[in-house]
Amino acid sequence: MGMEQAWLLPAIPVALFVVVALFGRFLPREGDWLVIAGMAATVVLGLLVILDFQGYFEGSAFAPAGENHYAFEWAAIADVLAIDFSTYVDSITVVMIAVVTVVALMVMVYSVGYMHGEARYGWYFALLSFFTAAMLLLVVSGNLLQLYLAWEAVGLASYLLIGFYWERQSAAEAAKKAFITTRVGDVGLLIGIILLWRASGTFEIQEIIALAQSGGFDETYLTVAMLFLFAGAAGKSAQFPLHVWLPDAMEGPTPVSALIHAATMVVAGVYLVARMLPVFDTVLVARDVVLYVGLLTALMAATMGLVASDIKRVLAYSTVSQLGFMFVALGAGSVTAAMFHLFTHAFFKSLLFLGSGSVIHATGRQHVEQLGGLWSKMPVTGWTFLVGGLALAGLAPLAGFWSKDEILYAALSEGGAFVYVTLAATAALTALYTTRLVLLTFFGAPRDSSAHAHAHESPRIMTLPLLVLATLSVVAGVVAFDGVGELLGFAGGIGYLVFTEKAHAFEFHPDIAGAATAASLLAVAAGLVYWRGAAERAARAQAWAPELHRMLVERYYMDHLYQAAVDRIVLGLAGIVAWVDDHIVNRTGVDGGAQGIGYAGLRLKFLQTGRIPNYALAMALGIVTLALVAFGAS
């Protein structure tokens, strides 16, 4: 078992989706155990694939050689169009497999407790299984069309899970918004894929990369194609200006937010750009766009996270911001930093989401104004949440520290001082809003006494995944160290695993990390001093600059802008077209034509007088005319 069986990774969960979706209600516990058992098998299989892949490392040489790519024909038209199904495993794939399988298993186990007693329990697990299958198909895809198929399938899973509580109109609206917004990006993605095919004649990613590196594309054409591709990535990974759907997506069950909207699906865009980075490297304009979009998003989302009151929304803004960090890394050309941060972020962000789920489960509240004082009531949740928060804030020695350092280093060396300073400031903001979130949720006097009175620690089935993920949030960063990598059987740390041009050893940059950490520590200290868990302090912050506060709460008014654009421009245009169709095409053209004939008949019928002299006159006139024509012709 190994890379040749990589197709089984999506096949197992999708088979279980079919079984549980159709027959789940006849199974004991609606089949949740079946889904979890299948996921456990998938984790093992993922491990086997990784081990097989690892066998190809010799020294620092990276030699996958043809053994990692398997294809069969799906559809073809003569010699002009061939669409294959293929699996491709390389270092990026390996990282993704590890993240997706582990987080999915943790979330499923957690869901047994969180979703206990909910309606459509079996359907929920079926959907989780479907999502995981689609996500795994996405990461093992060797060609872009298959990737697009999986890309849309994870979008569908996301749509159905955001709208899981569809009786709530807000959930239905959020699901719709998520689907349509990402769909706008997907239009770009599909156009990009077809443009690449048009110039290269292939959908295979490695062939396209090889062609790009040998200069087989026209540069302007390729820039346009890659920008279209990036539009898809920006939609899925909630980057400006398509970021608006992710905060609303929090309408879904919280474990779903942890799996789909923090750790896996939303990083699909990062994955796509990382996968295509060798092509982006040949068109630096497109790569710069990636960098600056990421930078703007990171900063913007962090400021919005500073004022949000819903725990899940704070985390959602944080996710958008952290995804921005990853795009900055990619824009700076460092696939290592981006994939490293993707890896660590997946663990600590899913931990934070599951922790927030635990709080919501215990209190039934999710606004920080109604929480507080939970530290003693929920020790496991509190401690693990704190670990996740510190990792997010990027404090040493937790996982987030190491990966953020890599990104800041890449930003400085490729992007320059401006990019570095902006990003470091964003990192400090991250520390600030994380401090605020932890303080307001767990410390200070409880602000809703009935919620506080009922609060209790969550059952073991929920705290166990929290502990596992907390452990990973502490230690995941060490994969950067060459010694750890060697211990695991690789040539070295992550720099030896994921790279574009050449493998590189782990470097720690005390100056860069020091400066950023100092800023973050300052932010944490400022937060500690300022909030100290008191809600009235938060209110005072609002009074300090009400307009600024309002702008942040209203998300820079972008949602309003889009809503207005859809209502006024799109629907307005649609109204005009519908009016034209009804009045011009239909009533004037079709009905008008019919009425015209009817009216002509009404008028012309008077020619039928029934009087012989009239007919005789007409006949005489006819004969004269014919005679004239005949004479004229001769």
């Binding site: 038209i77 849309e152 239909n586 079709v590």
Partner: protein, 496 residues
């Protein structure tokens, strides 16, 4: 396919016709006999069409297979050798269309067992219509081709005017007037072709290989294209379609949008692309332009519709626009995509109309804003609706995507801008469908609809067959693509 399979092609024509005749002998009050007869007949038609589809050998060099001919008139008047024959035979395109007709006729039959008003007469007309459709797809003689084409159109008038709803007289009259007017163009085109070829025969295979001057082809291709295109919902002659669909009873809407509109596009391929290839090549950009306009225009109009059937009707205009875009690319990928789209749109839109009918029969209301939370009351119904909707908005893994992908790729090869607009249309489609889902299916249930029942078993079975086809084509399209592409690659002048 062997020559004997030609008898099965004939059977596709005779089965519905024979069933209609038998039905005339059954007394109207014997409902169970009517149901048993139509059940057997629809199953038989389905089985034969599946067999015909599968047995079409795409590896063979013979383009037309199962060819059998019986001479009816020759050497009389203007007719020469083999003047008019009953000649059957199919190519890969017709094979796909036969399968489509088999599937939809079967599902349409099942859902029509609910009809209580003049049930027998309904089925007689429905099967005459089905005979016309099957016949047009398998006929290789231009005389019978046109005869059966008209046979498929004419029963519509009675079916809508007697069994319809919402402004049915208006809808029926408009549909009939526009389609008959268009038929006059086809009629003129057919006689022009017959005369110009000067072979004294209506044999289509002979007419395909005859020589026509380029100027003649350029002059008469538009005549055929407009004539057939009207039935295919070609912009701006589409306006019979939304109103006709809105007025028609469920099974008629299914057959109508599902297969009858495809007759139009099929006619353009048969008479346009195969008989007048140089005319087709000359006019292809025009077809493409009207197609992309229709695709966008239909989708944007659908955004503003509140009647569920009108929305689906405009959606059909939009999706048929894709068919014309594919034809207009004049390359093998695009045209293959067109035929795939004819199939994909057929099963998807038939499923839409089946489901709308299942609801309307109970609610007598189709206004989208009047509904909310229907997924609570009718979960199976809503699930099927979502599948049809996702196919319609081009979700990969479902039929629509396979077809649209080929059309997009073909369009990008020929005219990248048109390709881009076509992809954009798919996003608009997502908008109007998801708005409708969020409005009508989700949210809290409106108490007015608490009396609504789930679909009946025949409706569920019909939906399952249609949804199964959507999934099959979406996940494993090779059986279709191999057959269709084998024929498309053989079209004269078409770029690979």
């Amino acid at each position: 396919m062997t020559e004997n399979d030609g008898l099965l092609l004939l059977a596709l024509l005779l089965l519905p016709l024979g069933s209609a005749l038998l039905l005339m002998l059954v007394p109207s009050r014997e409902r169970s006999a009517i149901i048993a007869l139509t059940a057997a007949s629809s199953l038989a038609m389905f089985a034969v069409s599946v067999y015909v589809f599968l047995s079409y050998d795409y590896g063979s060099s013979e383009q037309f297979q199962g060819v059998r001919a019986w001479t009816w008139m020759e050497n009389v008047g203007i007719l020469g050798e083999k003047g008019i024959q009953l000649k059957v035979g199919i190519d890969g395109i017709a094979a796909a269309m036969v399968l489509l007709t088999g599937i939809i006729t079967m599902a349409g039959t099942w859902v029509s067992w609910k009809i209580t008003h003049r049930t027998k007469d309904f089925f007689i007309l429905l099967y005459i219509l089905a005979a016309g459709v099957f016949g047009t797809f398998v006929m290789l003689d231009l005389f019978f081709w046109f005869l059966l084409y008209e046979t498929a159109v004419l029963p519509m008038y009675l079916l809508i005017a007697v069994w319809g709803s919402t402004r049915k007289e208006y809808g029926a009259m408009k549909l009939m007037m526009m389609l008959v007017a268009a038929s006059i163009l086809i009629f003129a085109g057919i006689f022009a072709i017959y005369t110009e070829a000067g072979l004294g025969t209506f044999d289509l295979e002979a007419l395909f290989s005859a020589d026509y001057p380029v100027s003649f082809q350029k002059l008469f291709f538009p005549v055929i294209a407009i004539g057939c295109g009207t039935l295919g919902g070609l912009f701006p002659l589409h306006s019979w379609s939304p109103d006709g669909h809105a007025a028609a009873p469920t099974a008629v809407s299914m057959l109508h949008a599902g297969v009858l509109m495809k007759l139009g596009a099929f006619g353009i391929i048969r008479l346009g692309f195969q008989v007048l290839p140089e005319g087709a090549e000359f006019w292809a950009p025009g077809l493409l332009t009207l197609g992309i306009v229709a695709a966008l225009y239909g989708a944007v109009s659908a955004l503003r519709q509140t009647d569920l059937k009108l929305m689906t009707g405009f959606s059909s205009v939009s999706h048929m626009g894709y068919v014309f875009v594919g034809l207009g690319t004049f390359n093998a990928i695009g045209i293959t995509g067109s035929v795939l789209q004819m199939f994909a749109h057929g099963v998807m839109t038939a499923l839409f109309f089946l489901l709308i009918g299942a609801m309307y029969d109970q609610s007598h209301d189709r206004e989208i804003p009047h509904f909310s939370g229907m997924a609570k009351q009718m979960p199976v119904w809503a699930a099927f609706f979502v599948i049809a909707g996702l196919a319609s908005l081009g979700l990969p893994g479902l039929s629509g995507f396979v077809a649209e992908l080929h059309i997009f790729i073909g369009a990008f090869r020929a005219y990248p801008l048109v390709g881009g607009l076509a992809v954009l249309t798919a996003a608009i489609t997502a908008t109007y469908l998801l708005r409708m889902f969020a409005q009508s299916f989700f949210g809290e249930m409106h108490p007015a609809w608490s009396g609504m029942r789930e679909m009946t078993w025949p409706e569920r079975a019909g939906s399952a067959v249609l949804a199964g086809s959507i999934l099959w084509l979406g996940l494993w399209p090779s059986p279709w693509i191999d057959r269709i592409a084998a024929t498309v690659e053989g079209l004269q002048g078409v770029a690979l």
